[in-house]
């Protein structure tokens, strides 16, 4: 039996890049699933939500009208919230890894699931700061929603621990970060800089830091930083920079699941898999498996997919996934990686570390 699954993703607009990354994971998941699961087939229909809430709703509605049984995808909490509401109204399961805002799981959506959350990022960053024992931190964050939420939570947590934390917000439109770095250099005099932003922000900040050379001991960032892409594209800027990372690079996939993923990914896209693809893969695979189970029970049309989703409990590429009643994955903890020698080494948590931490160490 073939099932249609909708992928509602930003392929244009401000989130186009991450949307494309997630899409790759979704396609890989479908490929792997169709190859390994003999009974059922999955067909993906992708609709671009143009990084805009209204378009996200329309995309979900369009997918529904084309007969999909569930939706995977979504990026940015601001697009996911209305899109998953629409899915909720249409009784479609919606699973994502692109929205970390807590309000997504706290406002009673029945068919909503996600595999990651702010808390997981926070734990990883705080864990690293603890490990290296920094006494003062400067946080630079974009005024975008996810970035500022994370920054504020971490600041609170740090202050609770008695660590000095100064924060600097910036409008996503700005490109020259020297004045901010200079403030950190001359006013804050922190030991560690935490960047909560996106790729272009990291590049701007690191460049400014390279020029002004503040006396910090480490540069730490969050998503999209400890990635092979950043390592290869900005070899001068990245050395010793920390960022959340699921995988070391070059990646070694031990599990069968992991091998299937990475091989298929390389086959389809002729490049090394990245974390976006990995999240997209995990969320989609869990969904496809739930669909298969529901199909076996004949309950696809009667809300069986959501039911099967709730029963999910397995090790995945991002660790163990289980869903709580509100659809969140409480097990989620990110890892921290560090760029070393054009490679990415996992340095936190100690248990999963693939190399030694370099600290103090800065890119310049």
């Amino acid at each position: 039996e073939e099932f249609l699954v909708g992928a509602e993703l930003p392929l244009t607009g401000s989130l186009a890049r991450v949307g494309a990354g997630m899409q790759e994971g979704v396609m890989v998941a479908a490929e792997v699933f169709n190859r390994t699961n003999g009974k059922h087939k999955i067909k993906i229909i992708t609709v671009d939500d143009e990084s805009a809430p209204a378009k996200a709703i329309a995309a979900v509605e369009k997918l529904h009208s084309q007969g999909v049984v569930a939706i995977t995808g979504g990026y940015g909490s601001n697009n996911i919230a209305p899109a998953s509401d629409a899915a909720n109204k249409l009784n479609l399961v919606y699973i994502t890894s692109g929205g970390v805002d807590d309000s997504l799981v706290s406002s009673g959506r029945k068919n909503f699931f996600r595999i990651n959350n702010t808390a997981g990022y926070e734990k990883a960053v705080l864990g690293l700061i603890d490990d290296v024992g920094a006494k003062s931190v400067s946080i630079i964050y974009s005024t975008k929603e996810a970035t500022s939420d994370l920054a504020k939570n971490i600041q609170k947590a740090l202050e609770a621990k008695g660590i000095k934390a100064a924060s600097h917000s910036f409008d996503p439109a700005i490109t020259d970060f020297k004045p901010i770095i200079n403030k950190i250099k001359l006013q804050d005099k922190s030991e560690l800089v935490l960047m909560s932003g996106y790729e272009n922000d990291y590049v701007g900040i690191l460049r400014a830091a390279r020029v002004l050379k503040p006396a910090v001991k480490a540069m730490v960032g969050v998503w999209s930083l400890a990635t092979p892409k950043m390592a290869s594209e900005f070899p001068d800027l990245m050395p010793n920079v920390f960022g959340t990372a699921l995988l070391p690079y070059p990646a070694t996939f031990e599990s069968a699941d992991g091998k299937a993923f990475s091989e298929t990914y390389k086959q389809l896209y002729k490049k090394e898999p990245d974390y976006l693809g990995q999240f997209g893969y995990v969320q989609s695979m869990l969904l496809f498996e739930a669909i298969a189970r529901a199909a076996d029970k004949g309950s696809v049309k009667t809300g069986g997919i959501a039911e099967e989703m709730r029963k999910t409990s397995r090790e995945t590429l991002i660790g163990k996934v289980q869903f709580s009643a509100n659809g969140d994955n409480p097990n989620f903890v990110h890892r921290m990686g560090q760029h070393q020698d054009k490679k990415i080494v996992i340095v936190w948590p100690k248990a999963g570390a693939t190399g030694k931490i370099a600290y103090p160490a800065v890119p310049w």
Partner: protein, 290 residues
């Protein structure tokens, strides 16, 4: 604190230099034809992406992209002119909408060609720090600041001394009368678009070497350029430099003394303030009514 402010002023100054380079082409066409080329930012961006292609494909430094960018961007600019030329009614308003449309086309063409990824130079030489006393900057910023000054001076000299500059202003002032003086308005305008293209090419290569680029940046560049043109006052080339530096310094000081989240706000407020208080810009002249 003084060190902080000194550095902010210095950063603002350098930033102003690059802003000036971006604004210059727009100001030139505006001065010549009373036409705001809303696709100007995209032309700059196009040059930046050409620099990226040259660097990533041929492995040459961004500076080697300049000749290629000069040719291609000027051509693109000429294409813009050819479309603008075909407007025969309500030129002021229609050209605004037309170039807005061209901007959309270019943005999306860039998106399709180069994808949404952010790009920047990988040359470490350009990114090295250049330290003068207590002041820090990136090497590329300082280099292109000088380039910007040189181009400004050249353009200024050309506009104020040469016959072409006068012809340009005559055409802007009264097309029919200019024809009677023996000026071919089409040729004059074409030349200003070519020069605007050349300036955009330099600006784009500069942008690529000290900043990051993304397909959606174009319109923000145009807006910055327009703000500077307004600060300068139409037709004032030295004004462009001063306006750009004013904007750069104002932004840097806002970040230093208040918050970087307010940087855009400060720029926009400065723009509106000047518009309201001095509608002719800081360096423009008043006109007679009646």
């Amino acid at each position: 604190m003084t060190e902080l402010i000194l550095q902010a002023l210095y950063s603002g100054l350098l930033q102003g230099g690059s802003y000036a380079l971006i604004a210059l082409g727009l100001a030139l066409v505006f001065g010549a034809m009373k036409i705001i080329n809303l696709a100007h930012g995209e032309l700059v961006l196009l040059a930046a992406y050409i620099a990226y292609t040259v660097e990533s494909q041929a492995g040459l430094g961004p500076v080697f992209a300049i000749p290629v960018a000069l040719v291609l961007v000027s051509l693109a600019s000429v294409c813009v002119y050819w479309t603008v030329r075909r407007i025969n009614k309500d030129r002021e308003i229609n050209s605004l909408i037309l170039t807005y449309g061209i901007g959309i086309i270019l943005t999306n063409a860039i998106l399709i060609t180069w994808k949404a990824d952010i790009r920047t130079t990988s040359s470490s030489w350009l990114q090295e720090a250049l330290v003068i006393g207590p002041l820090y900057s990136m090497r590329s910023e300082a280099i292109f600041f000088c380039v910007s000054l040189a181009l400004l001076a050249a353009l200024w000299w050309w506009l104020s001394r040469s016959w072409y500059g006068r012809a340009l202003r005559a055409v802007a002032s009264n097309r029919d009368a200019a024809k009677l003086m023996g000026i071919n308005p089409g040729k004059v305008e074409l030349v200003s678009f070519i020069i605007a293209g050349i300036l955009a090419a330099f600006a784009g290569v500069a942008l690529f070497s000290y900043g990051v680029i993304q397909p959606s940046y174009g319109s923000a560049l145009t807006v910055k350029a327009f703000i500077i043109t307004v600060l300068a006052g139409v037709g004032s080339i030295p004004g462009v430099l001063l306006g750009a530096v004013l904007l750069g310094v104002c932004e840097a000081l806002t970040v230093t003394l208040a918050s970087s989240a307010l940087q855009e706000l400060a720029g926009m407020s400065l723009f509106l303030l000047v518009l309201f208080v001095m509608p002719n810009g800081l360096f423009g002249a008043a006109r007679r009514r009646g």
